[in-house]
């Protein structure tokens, strides 16, 4: 599989993500500058963490206008898997590829620590290899991760099973204590209605080897490979089959 990792000025998890795709998973990966206008034949696109454009104005507010984002939107509309991690999630929200917005953490503190998220949906390209309810111990590192959406939008997300990841305690309870930033309903990650675009605040790419404290994040990347295997028809990735794979 070929991964594209988009690089904005201020991205700082681009190389971590590249490392996981290339060195841990042995896949092809290309870093793509935000001013490029081609995803260069990638099968999966990742918007990495960082501080695109210094988080000026609002997180992701300026990055959404980068030329590459038009290609990301087209790729997503065609059913291609797009993952936004942390700042990448914020960019997807600003770009309207996912609903809602991010507010400053309720504590006003930049939180950087390992925590637990529960995987609630396993029919996305980024969670297919997870067990329903599986808990991942992965880190967060953000100051603006307080997910907000109008109550009707939140209700719709819950109804459509679009809440993919939720902050939970070590024993799996969804509690206020387990919520690091004030996100509504402990939401850590969501998907779009078509389920091929996923955004999450925690960093799975920072937890893919035991040497760094946890390898739980691998489940997200192994899911992409599983999605790829099940979507490939011979040597050709047929985007048209992607939704069918997810609905199996």
């Amino acid at each position: 599989m070929k991964f594209a990792v988009v690089v904005f000025p201020g991205s700082n998890c681009d190389h971590d993500t590249e490392y996981v795709a290339r060195t841990v998973l042995g896949q092809d990966v290309e870093l793509i500058w935000h001013k490029d206008s081609s995803l260069k034949g990638a099968d999966a696109v990742i918007l990495p963490g960082g501080f695109a454009h210094g988080d000026y104005l609002r997180t992701g507010a300026i990055a959404r206008f980068s030329p590459i984002m038009q290609e990301v939107s087209k790729f997503a509309a065609a059913g291609g898997p797009v993952l936004g991690i942390c700042n990448g999630f914020q960019v997807l929200l600003e770009a309207g590829l996912l609903p809602g917005a991010m507010l400053r953490n309720r504590s006003l503190k930049f939180r950087c620590e390992f925590l637990h998220v529960g995987v609630e949906q396993t029919d996305t390209p980024f969670t297919m290899a997870c067990r329903p309810g599986q808990r991942l111990r992965i880190p967060i590192a953000h100051g603006d991760g307080n997910y907000y959406a109008e109550p009707e939008v939140v209700a719709q997300l819950e109804r459509n099973r679009q809440v993919v990841f939720r902050y939970v305690s070590a024993s799996g309870e969804v509690s206020d204590e387990a919520n690091p930033n004030g996100s509504v309903n402990n939401i850590a990650g969501i998907c779009n209605e078509a389920r091929n675009v996923v955004g999450l605040m925690p960093h799975p790419e920072r937890a893919c080897e035991l040497a760094v404290g946890s390898a739980d994040g691998l489940a997200v990347f192994e899911s992409i490979l599983k999605w790829g295997r099940e979507s490939f028809d011979g040597d050709t990735l047929t985007m048209a089959t992607a939704p069918a794979v997810l609905n199996k």
Binding site: L57, R58, L93, P99, A101, R104, L108, Y148, E150
Partner: protein, 80 residues
């Protein structure tokens, strides 16, 4: 012409920064400050032939970039 754009969080959206500023003011003894909402302020210098034209352009800029309609609303003042 100058358009001033005031962007604030919608009333329904919790403002952790404003709340913290209010608490700090209370610590300083300003007990009569009931609430604080923090926002953003922009001054746009615009080449426009009329105030209406400047206002239209500022509104477009606010809709597309300066504010996020999910959480924020804005108000515009135009001065020549």
């Amino acid at each position: 012409m100058q358009a001033r754009v005031f962007v604030t969080l919608k009333p329904s959206v919790f403002d952790p920064q404003g709340t913290t500023v209010a608490e700090a003011l209370h610590t300083l003894g300003y007990a009569t400050v009931r609430d604080v909402r923090q926002g953003k302020y922009f001054e746009l210098e615009i080449d426009a032939t009329s105030a209406d034209e400047a206002r239209r352009l500022a509104a477009e800029a606010a809709d597309r970039l300066l504010s996020n309609p999910v959480i924020e609303s804005y108000r515009i003042e135009v001065t020549s």
